[in-house]
């Protein structure tokens, strides 16, 4: 009985993330590294919150203060990881050759991998404590609810894992677009709004879990999940009401996101230099070969 409950909780929490991981992260090694490092960064954020909790205990009689502090730390770490990913992507993609596309980072896949890292880290820290207890005897009841605490916790963890993925994707893609809109304030406002929506949804999601009635929490969280996922999908693909052209112009940049392959024909200055160097090499090698033969 307890083993069944344990397996049920395990699969509820990890199934969606596992599917995404199997589709993207395990097939490409770069994404694995990005996911691992994002997991590491998320754990740094949660350890930071715990240290603050240790330092200032009297504030935390209610849960709201811990939520605020953790929210702030997590979003700061997410922004820092965004900067890191941007730096990585630029260094690697700028210096990639035509024949070496395997070493490039596809920005959207990279943001998805980082989101998965955050999600998996979140779920590992938040859920394993109760998951291991679910395999043992006995049952804990959630307050104000007939569901067992283990099952409720696993449902919440599933939702939050997917939400983390969505939040990271929204933030990373929007903030990348943000830079290339110089004079267009209205569009900048719209982009800012999207990021603010994701932040507010994070805070709202963690506040919703404070509600005692688990039916209300779960319904609200699932609605939130659907809305945020729709937003994330809209932002990545942009196939809604003529916004496609705008989005495609943003993407087609010196550092392509990879949705359109029109940039593959262009050659950067660096590649031209490399070709010249190769030609020189061949000419020099031919001269050396001729000189050796003559000797």
């Amino acid at each position: 009985m307890s083993v069944i409950r344990f397996l049920g909780c395990l699969f509820i929490t990890y199934a969606p993330l596992f599917v995404l991981i199997c589709q993207y992260v395990l097939l490409d090694a770069k994404l694995l590294i990005i996911a691992l490092s994002s997991c590491f960064f998320w754990m740094i954020s949660i350890l930071f919150t715990s240290l603050i909790w240790l330092a200032v205990p009297p504030l935390y009689e209610t849960n709201i203060w811990i939520i605020i502090v953790s929210f702030v730390c997590q979003e700061i770490i997410r922004y820092l990881f965004f900067r890191l990913l941007l730096l990585l992507e630029r260094t690697i993609n700028y210096h990639s050759r035509l024949g070496q596309r395997q070493s490039e980072i596809h920005y959207i896949k990279g943001s998805l991998a980082s989101g998965l890292g955050f999600g998996v880290g979140y779920v590992l820290v938040m859920n394993t404590g109760l998951l291991t207890k679910a395999a043992g005897p006995g049952d804990l009841e959630a307050s104000g609810c007939s569901m067992s605490l283990f099952v409720l916790n696993s449902f919440n963890a599933q939702i939050f894992g997917l939400l983390n993925v969505a939040w990271t994707m929204i933030m990373f893609i929007v903030l990348k677009q943000y830079k290339y809109k110089y004079g267009q304030t209205r569009e900048k406002q719209i982009l800012k709004l999207k990021v603010i929506v994701s932040l507010v949804s994070h805070f709202a999601a963690s506040c919703i879990t404070m509600i005692d009635n688990c039916a209300v929490t779960l319904t609200l969280l699932y609605l939130l999940l659907i809305c945020i996922c729709v937003l994330a999908v809209y932002i990545t693909f942009g196939h809604i009401k003529g916004k496609k052209d705008e989005f495609s112009t943003i993407i087609q940049d010196r550092i392509p996101l990879g949705l359109n392959d029109s940039n593959s024909d262009k050659k950067s200055k660096h590649e031209n230099e490399k070709e010249k160097v190769k030609e020189k090499k061949d000419s020099s090698s031919s001269t050396t070969a001729s000189s050796s033969e003559s000797n």
Binding site: I46, W53, N63, H95, S103, V125, N153, A157, T209, K281
Partner: protein, 465 residues
């Protein structure tokens, strides 16, 4: 097209050999590490012969997964063994006869700390002495002692410690076992392990046995008293750093002696080296046909599937793997020394392990220098010592909570990937222990003491942060 590629390859190889010899000498003298910085590339100052960042990234990413998976598997196995069999055992003080200071709860914290420090310092001193002895033996040509040591120690570990853990697990599962079947099974297990590790064997089985050895070793080491383990880990990380990065260490002496002897295999009588040679010859022949997988008889190396494009590009990146060999040697030396006390069996076992790794690495290094083009030794080498100390750290976490286990797991893997990244960037021998142990210790203490209580408070109200 293929002929043109071959001609280009030959030209590149000839240039590479000359460049490598010159660069090798210069590097030994000046210690200048040149690598392509972002700014050099942008300004066009990058020289044509040097490796590009994208090559480094492509090779690094392919290698990383092959290293991470064995480490992850060992750590998870250790967690499994400890959570089932070792966790509820009373602390019997297995090392009390050996340690100078026996920890007990009656003493004050400062006294315990001092005693633990003394224990750890003695262990590391013994490690140093043993490494010097081994270096002297190797330099004077007494390889056969080391070979016999390896065989003996591997056999003893697999049979003795394997039997102990097996009995512990069966005690946990409440099953019975008769001495006849146990004897038969464990003898076969041990003999097969020694044969695969020290002689021929399938690559996967070799890796499995090495993982099993590290799991057994770490499970036994986890019974060390608490303060000694933490101080020992810290001191080992520092020792590893010092020995690998110092200009005059036993590592360099070993490498120099290996090069002085001038043989393609540095004077080793191990039959394992013969096997290695034969596989390499086969691989050379196969390369000409541009077809195959190259099997390496290394602890963490896995077969590198050679596609035509990959082989052309990755031939030029043998430097990445040269540097790793020394790193693993040093780690094995440390691991060797860790348990070494004067007359305990453990010492012998560890030494043999180190020797295995060292000699394997030397062969690969030599071969790279001679026939850099023929070898596709792309996987980085990681010593058994690294495995054992990472899993020791995880075992200490396993005694506490699963959350600490996962945080330390992530920290260790992150440290390992960072060290490999620096290795790919700097192309120099680097120690693998310090970064991951640094991260692991920090994460362990913060999670076990701070995060778990916070989580337990928060979960009572089913609140998610």
């Amino acid at each position: 097209m293929s002929s043109q590629n071959e001609s280009e390859e030959k030209k590149k190889k000839t240039k590479k050999r000359t460049n490598k010899k010159q660069n090798h000498k210069q590097k030994n003298k000046t210690k200048d590490v040149e690598f392509n910085t972002r700014y050099e590339i942008q300004e066009g100052k990058r020289e044509p012969g040097k490796e590009d960042l994208d090559y480094i990234v492509a090779v690094y990413t392919k290698q990383l997964r092959k290293v991470l998976i064995p480490v992850a598997v060992t750590m998870l196995l250790v967690v499994l063994v400890i959570r089932t069999a070792y966790k509820d055992k009373p602390e019997e003080g297995a090392f009390n006869d050996i340690m100078v200071y026996n920890e007990s709860d009656e003493d004050s914290a400062g006294f315990r700390f001092g005693g633990a420090l003394l224990n750890a310092v003695i262990v590391i001193a013994v490690i140093l002495v043993v490494t010097l002895i081994m270096v002297c033996l190797y330099m004077k040509g007494f390889d056969w002692i080391l070979v016999g040591w390896v065989i003996f120690s591997v056999f003893i570990i697999l049979t003795f410690y394997g039997l102990l853990t097996w009995l512990e697990i069966f005690q946990y599962l409440n099953k019975s076992l008769d001495w006849i079947s146990a004897l038969i099974v464990i003898l076969n297990f041990g003999v097969a392990g020694t044969i695969t590790i020290t002689w021929k064997g399938a690559k996967i089985i070799n890796q499995i046995y090495l993982i099993i050895i590290s799991v057994l070793f770490a499970a036994i080491l986890s019974t060390l008293p608490e303060y000694t383990t933490w101080i020992l880990l810290v001191l080992l990380a520092i020792y590893d750093l010092v020995v690998v990065l110092s200009p005059k260490g036993p590592l360099k002496m070993l490498v120099e002696t290996a090069e002085k002897k001038g043989k393609p295999i540095p004077g080793l009588i191990y039959s394992s080296m013969v096997w290695f040679m034969s596989t390499l010859e086969k691989s050379k022949a196969k390369k000409k046909r541009k077809n195959k997988k190259k099997n390496e008889k290394k602890k963490t190396s896995s077969s590198s599937e050679s596609n035509t494009t990959e082989s052309d590009d990755l031939l030029q990146n043998n430097k990445l793997l040269n540097s790793n060999s020394s790193e693993s040697e040093e780690n094995l030396i440390n691991e060797d020394d860790e348990i070494v006390k004067e007359e305990s069996e453990e010492n012998e076992k560890s030494k043999t392990k180190i020797k295995i790794s060292k000699k394997k690495k030397k062969t690969t290094k030599k071969k790279k220098d001679d026939n850099s083009s023929a070898l596709l030794d792309h996987s980085p080498k990681l010593g058994l010592g690294d495995f054992i100390f990472y899993s020791l750290l995880i075992s200490k976490a396993a005694y506490q909570d699963y959350t600490t286990v996962f945080t330390c797991f992530v920290a260790i893997l992150m440290g390992l990937s960072l060290t490999l990244f620096f290795l790919a960037l700097l192309q120099k021998a680097l120690p693998a222990l310090p970064l991951s142990i640094f991260f692991g210790i920090i994460f362990f203490f913060i999670t076990s003491n701070v995060l778990v209580p916070m989580n337990s408070l928060v979960f009572q109200d089913h609140v998610f942060l």
